[in-house]
Amino acid sequence: MMLLEVSQLKKSFHAPDGAVHCVVQIPQFGLAEKEHAALQGESGCGKTTFLHLIAGILKPDGGAIKIDGKEMSALREPVRDRLRATTIGYIFQVFNLLQGYTCLENVLLGMSFGPGMDRAFAQTLLQRVGLGHRLHHYPRQLSTGQQQRVAVARALANRPKLVLADEPTGNLDHKNARESLQLIREGCRENGAALLLVSHDREVLAQFENVREFAAINQAAHEQVQP
């Protein structure tokens, strides 16, 4: 059964000079439940915008995004926020941890907008990513690899059906990147979540059986439209 269905998706941005840049134009895209897929593409090709559109962080200009049978673009913003909190886990390239919050609080806060805080599960997740002894450390007190692991734990905190990972290993060395990727995939499998990862790193992509070329599904190709 399909978890994510995208059709005729379109997103453009206005440049300062008034020109309109079409960044995403995807006629069709889908991801089944529990499926792990990677999107390959160079920097600036619209991968992050695509993930933001799926997460409901950006509103598309046209087209439809269905997650778990619900049409995202038809939902009011508060409902979309709630759906994002309960259904989607997001791992950012730069982790986006809240610096004033401890590891545990970062994970708990991720839960709070969804089903609610579950301290025991948050601790379990952090132990699972090897940070059981760093629960009350602040992000600045952690190494880059450890910060990424907190971000993974936070993304899985609400037992999401879909995890979006945007260049999750972009800031890590090879060893940490491998371990981090392994954690993400294991975490998704253990929680029954589908994974959509975007990356331009061939070593990361090589670990996926299902790799799709973003340029092949995105027809925008940065065409510029005059206003």
Binding site: T49, A55, P78, A85, N96, F113, D166
Partner: protein, 403 residues
């Protein structure tokens, strides 16, 4: 829970500006409550003090000066009146009690007031309360050079029963004008929390016949404290008419409370200025909350975007900012009670030292509720502009750069 966690974290992350703005609120709240309390308690206390009398008869002059001099032992005497005038008023059918007083000397700035023993035996300075001496003491013998010392003076001058002292001429202390007479302290008054605590009480004749005083005025008195007969509602009006309208030699200050109230009417503008200053401080303090949160919004944009990406609603973040600004105000108001306690305690101390009137800093009054509620609401209102900014924060633009 989430909202409070976000607010608490933000307050901690911006601890310095939180403390500074909370302190400005504390100052504003403390000032507001202090001005209100001092004004109202002082007015209520001053207009309520009459030392058990209804009126004061004195030389022709200002009623306020007469009352301040005779009841509050402040100001100079407007002049003397003859012993015959005292006897005249004492025998007036409307008068229950008339007690003469004489002033004109001091001991290190604390004035000596000469009076008769009736002042202590027959007067209730407050309902059911008569002046009494502390254990081991006694009231003075009218025929001797003896003194009963008010509690405040005794403590300040370290006077005890059996001590002796030489009075000084005049109401202002001048060490060159010491009288030769030696007075013996026979008793210390129990605290009455009235101006009587700031006085050294002596027999009337002692003041009248002190060496150096004009022998021609040896039977004159400075004023007569008058208690009207109970139930004689028109007595005050009749005597007011007799002395103030028909006569031209004497002044009959009645009723004492209304005369004192005129003082507060005269200095009412000063209260208004103080109140205005406190309102302005409150507005500036509230504006400082707005400024500090608003200025921090740029650095918060990324955090707000992350929270939104995690599923926080715009309204949640709007509420978090409002709650944060209200919390700063609430924290400030907690500290405001310390500021209030400090200000009013100092004012109460000064007021007691200068006038003998006691106000209670810890007595509950409505401003202790109104000021915190208003300032917390103003704090919340100050958060609206930055809250709107938080509400409008674009999520995608403030997350990681687009790939």
């Amino acid at each position: 829970m989430t909202l409070w966690l976000i607010v608490w974290k933000s307050l901690r992350q911006h601890a310095l500006s939180t403390i500074v703005t909370a302190l400005s609120i504390a100052l504003a709240g403390g000032l507001l409550m202090s001005v209100w309390t001092v004004k109202n308690q002082a007015q209520a206390t001053f207009t309520g003090i009459n030392e058990g009398f209804d009126a004061v008869l004195g030389a022709r002059g200002s009623k306020l000066q007469l009352v301040l001099n005779s009841i509050f032992h402040l100001e100079s005497s407007p002049g003397n009146l003859a012993w015959a005038d005292y006897q005249d008023v004492a025998h007036n059918p409307n008068v229950e009690l008339a007690v003469p007083i004489a002033v004109g000397d001091n001991y290190h700035g604390y004035r000596l007031v000469g009076t008769t023993e009736e002042y202590f035996s027959q007067v209730e300075y407050a309902p059911g309360e008569k002046f009494a001496v502390q254990p081991g003491g006694a009231f003075f013998d009218p025929a001797r050079k003896e003194a009963v010392v008010g509690d405040f003076v005794a403590r300040k001058m370290n006077l005890k029963v059996g001590d002796t002292f030489h009075p000084f001429h005049g109401l202002i202390f001048d060490e060159k004008s010491q009288h030769a007479e030696t007075y013996v302290v026979t008793g210390i008054l129990k605290p009455s929390n009235t101006p009587a605590d700031r006085v050294i009480w002596t027999p009337l004749e002692g003041i009248q016949k002190m060496t150096g005083h004009d022998p021609k005025a040896a039977t004159d008195v400075s004023a007569v404290l008058v208690k009207l007969k109970a139930g004689s509602a028109m007595a005050g009006f009749r005597m007011d008419m007799m002395y103030n309208k028909q006569g031209s030699r004497l002044t009959f200050a009645w009723p004492i409370g209304r005369v004192v109230a005129e003082l507060f009417d005269k200095i009412g503008w000063f209260d208004k200025v103080l109140a205005l200053v406190s309102y302005l401080v409150a507005v500036v303090a509230t504006a400082s909350i707005l400024a500090s949160i608003y200025n921090s919004m740029n650095e918060r944009r990324r955090e707000i975007a992350i929270l939104r990406a995690l599923g926080a609603r715009r309204t949640t973040l709007f509420a978090a900012i409002l709650l944060e600004s209200a919390s700063i105000s609430a924290l400030g108001m907690m500290a405001a009670f310390l500021v209030y306690g400090a200000i009013v305690s100092v004012v109460a101390h000064i007021m007691r030292a200068q006038t003998g009137v006691v106000i209670d800093p810890f007595k509950f009054n409505q401003m202790m509720v109104i000021a915190p509620v208003c300032l917390v609401l103003m704090g919340a209102l100050a958060g609206i502009v930055p809250a709107i900014k938080a509400y409008r924060t674009a999520v995608a633009e403030n997350l990681a750069p687009l790939s």
